[in-house]
Symmetry: C2
């Protein structure tokens, strides 16, 4: 029973709800959990490494990949395409490795409708309060009221899709939320569909049964 099938762990939340800290803790707990490396048509920035920070693709290549079903999800943002290539994810989960997706609700929805749907685990992180998110943005003193208002609207748009996720955690206590997240991942790894070795095991039981009968 050693061989398992990996999970597509989808984590969404409005910014400021603690998702990066939770993600870091999850990977500290189990460093074999990979990040999905996005593909993009935007130009690499200084220091960015192809295949590590992003898979840098031409627009033609990107569109071809989308047409051929090689993108689990994709979006067009400020004139550039971004997406999650399917190949590396499929290889990873067949190899028993979980892949973490830090994406918004639209990406999550596309992955839930992809051919790897059966292997997803989607978790939404809610903040304990909106006022706190707002206070943090204001206190940074970096952004105009307009920018802050737009960010808050975006946060609310994201939150309004909480109802499509398997699990929804209110991050009012980072330690507790982090523990809950681990428990959820641990348990979901035991899901029948993540355990391809079961098929073999039942086949062996059947052989034994036939020998006895």
């Amino acid at each position: 029973m050693s061989q398992r099938r990996g999970l597509l762990i989808i984590l969404s939340s409005p910014s400021g709800a603690g998702k990066s800290t939770l993600t870091r803790r999850l990977r500290d707990w189990d460093p074999t959990i990979r990040f999905s490396v996005s593909a993009t048509t935007r130009a690499p920035r200084p220091g960015e490494v192809d295949g590590q920070d992003y898979h840098f693709l031409s627009e033609d290549q990107f569109k071809r990949d989308v047409t051929e079903g090689d993108m689990l999800e994709h979006a067009h943002v400020f004139g550039n395409f971004y997406g999650s290539p399917k190949g590396p994810v499929q290889a990873a989960i067949e190899d028993g490795q979980d892949v973490l997706f830090d994406i918004d609700w639209q990406g999550a929805e596309q992955i839930r409708n992809s051919s790897l749907a059966a292997h997803t685990l989607s978790i939404f992180i809610l903040p304990p309060s909106i006022k706190e998110l707002h206070r943090r943005l204001v206190s940074r003193g970096q952004d105009s009221d307009d920018v802050i208002a737009r960010r808050m609207q975006k946060s609310w748009d994201e939150i309004s899709h909480w109802g499509s996720y398997d699990f929804v955690l209110v991050n009012d206590n980072l330690d507790q939320t982090s523990e809950d997240l681990k428990t959820i991942v641990q348990a979901t790894r035991l899901r029948r569909l993540q355990q391809p070795a079961l098929v073999e095991h039942v086949r062996n039981l059947q052989t034994e049964f036939e020998e006895i009968s």
Copy 2:
């Protein structure tokens, strides 16, 4: 976030796979997990207490309950009816208590198709080997070859439905299986659908958002 909705924990397995020990350990871990008390039309045996060992019903009453949708599952066995009354289960899960069902695949299937389907968690326990089950039955020396053959056939019938369960655990190490079972229950309690307080929380976030905007 204290108020949660309880689970219908369905445990199935062929006899001899260790289900009773696992059930006992689960309830030692959390004594608030209740057993579902079955209803039956058979006569009470000496010492059996109505409402505790079984709900003893007349055949008329039982059939009326089935017709009115008050049985989550039921079966006719050796001339008597057996079933799981819905009322007490519904009350328990609304009160945040989990209810454990020790039933076979046919009962499990009916509960999965009941109005409480969304709150089920179904787990199948597989034995590491069939020969071991067989050896135990034979070594008890209580049963004729015929009875043993029938029991083995029944075990195999049960096993052949493993593919309909959310989780399937091979009980090759009781301590490990017991831990896995706890982790699964713990995580599933966090499922969005088990957390009715989330609706209220999101409503509060929305109010805050509207006050800021």
